[in-house]
Amino acid sequence: MEEHSKDINQDKGSMGKPISRRILLGGAATAAVVMLKSSYGQIVQKAITQAELKISDPTKEPGPPPGVLGTRSTFEQPVKKPSDTSSRTPLQDLFGTITPSDLHYERHHAGVPVIDPHNYTLTIHGMVEKPLVFSLAELKRFPSVTRTFFLECSGNYRGGKEEMTPQEICGLTSQSEWTGVMLSTLFREVGVKPKASWFLAEGSDAAVMTRSVPVSKGWEDAMIAYAQNGEAIRPEQGYPARLLLPGWEGNTSVKWLRRIELSDQPFMTREETAKYSEAVKDGKIRQFSFVMDARSIITYPAYPQQLQKGWMEIRGIAWSGRGKIYKVEVSTNGGKTWNAATLQEPVLDKAHTAFRYLWDWKGGEAELMSRAIDETGYVQPTMKQLIDARGKDMGGYHLNPVTSWLVQRDGRVLFKTERQ
């Protein structure tokens, strides 16, 4: 990390008078402003405190003693990007495949509820032999499972302009290591009746949000998670417990789960009819499209990076709700030729998989693309293929097109937008 310090008194305003950056930044603790170059070369402005400013040579002064909570370096400030309805993970700032819990994307329908874990209960009823109410402590006493997989909102594509970061294009995907009890363990405990084919999952947020889920997914690999990345699950991700359906559209993994009702038919809730359904050809509307198809994105280089000539590692993530990533291919010439990228092992089922490809940029224009191929043989499609398959009126759900970055002669990297 390079830094270029500016003394506050050397900074002159347009009137020639010294302007205190402390005032400009509005922070009482601000002592100065440094122009930081991120490890990807992006220049960002950052306020630092008097205490930080004093330490010019870390080998000449002892640092603070051991503490009760760790913090990020003050030089690193990755942040989510919120809108009215969601908040996006800064994919371009991350390494590897685990999303730090405080950077996990958010999508909820009536805000984040505060739930006292001592009063929390999960009720399972309907077509079961024994309707039961579980406390959080009881859920934690069942045999537990830990598993890493991605969670992605099915409405995870934005386009429309060249100046867009990976976060803005598809930041509604994140990955955690989740711990909890398999739903099948609870199904066994309550005795799910053979004729039950669907269950309703209901949250205890202000939307009391509900989705219908086939019982087969409950037996297969659904989890009730109470922990994320080694600690209690975060409120934004469903504290104190949530449903998780690996590989399926995020909305079905109902957070703040309070009730599961077994039934012999879907409930046709608002979120599986008016929302999370998509127009396809012949005037039809596709419903219960649970599985997230394979996708990838290059997160470096990407907008707003400024490239310098020479060797670099093209990096990104690939994932598929259908299973494991089998292969990722990278093109540096707009899809004329494709090259196999290196996948970071171990490649996990239904999980973000890091890929890398070495490239020597000689300075001309280039178009960088990646495409994921999963173990079912599915190849990540282009936007044109998606439109051909679903028609021009296809909605914004389940869009997983190949993403292109246009490298300009001057080293700028722009998003090749194909659809509003």
Binding site: V133, E138, R259, M268, V280, K284, T376, Y378
Partner: protein, 198 residues
Amino acid sequence: MNKLWIVCSCLIIWSCRSDDQARHVVVTTTGKIISIDSASWPSSFHLGRPASPAEIEKMDIDVRPDGVGLPAGEGKAIAGKVIYMTKCVACHGTDTTSPDAKLLGPVLVSTKPGKNKTIGNYWPYATTLFDYVRRAMPYNEPGSLTNEEVYQLTAFLLQANKVIGENEVMNAKTLPKVVMPAQNRFIPDDRRGGAEVR
């Protein structure tokens, strides 16, 4: 690629196992799905307490398309309009709201053709209206409406979308019988797996 298909087939075979078996699966840390021998497990962990019918009834607010879950009570559009103009219009607008207006909620009563997905041109089941309004609306005061008020609002929203007439009464018997214009457009997921882009 053949190996991959074998893996998929195994999963399908597994999921077809009979329900009365004490089947149980867990997922390894690498994501591999394995079945475990639950014969070594006790028949019950004796965790959880019985849910009483009364406490289930209190929580069980969902309404299915066949009408199961609909409470007693009824309502007509004229009464619903009064509630709508007081509690809903600020976020959802009216039929005369400009299509360019920035509303906090989706347009609900427009019958004009446009790209908006509305109750009249998109919602497949009328029962969903009752279920959703009762559980989640108004946004700033969810769960505050009486069953009677929810029936009234449901009637108004259906009438304003030209699905029912002004004098039709909505209750547990009539609401499930309302056929929504878009219902026959809905199809279950028709993606078939494998290489196909669909």
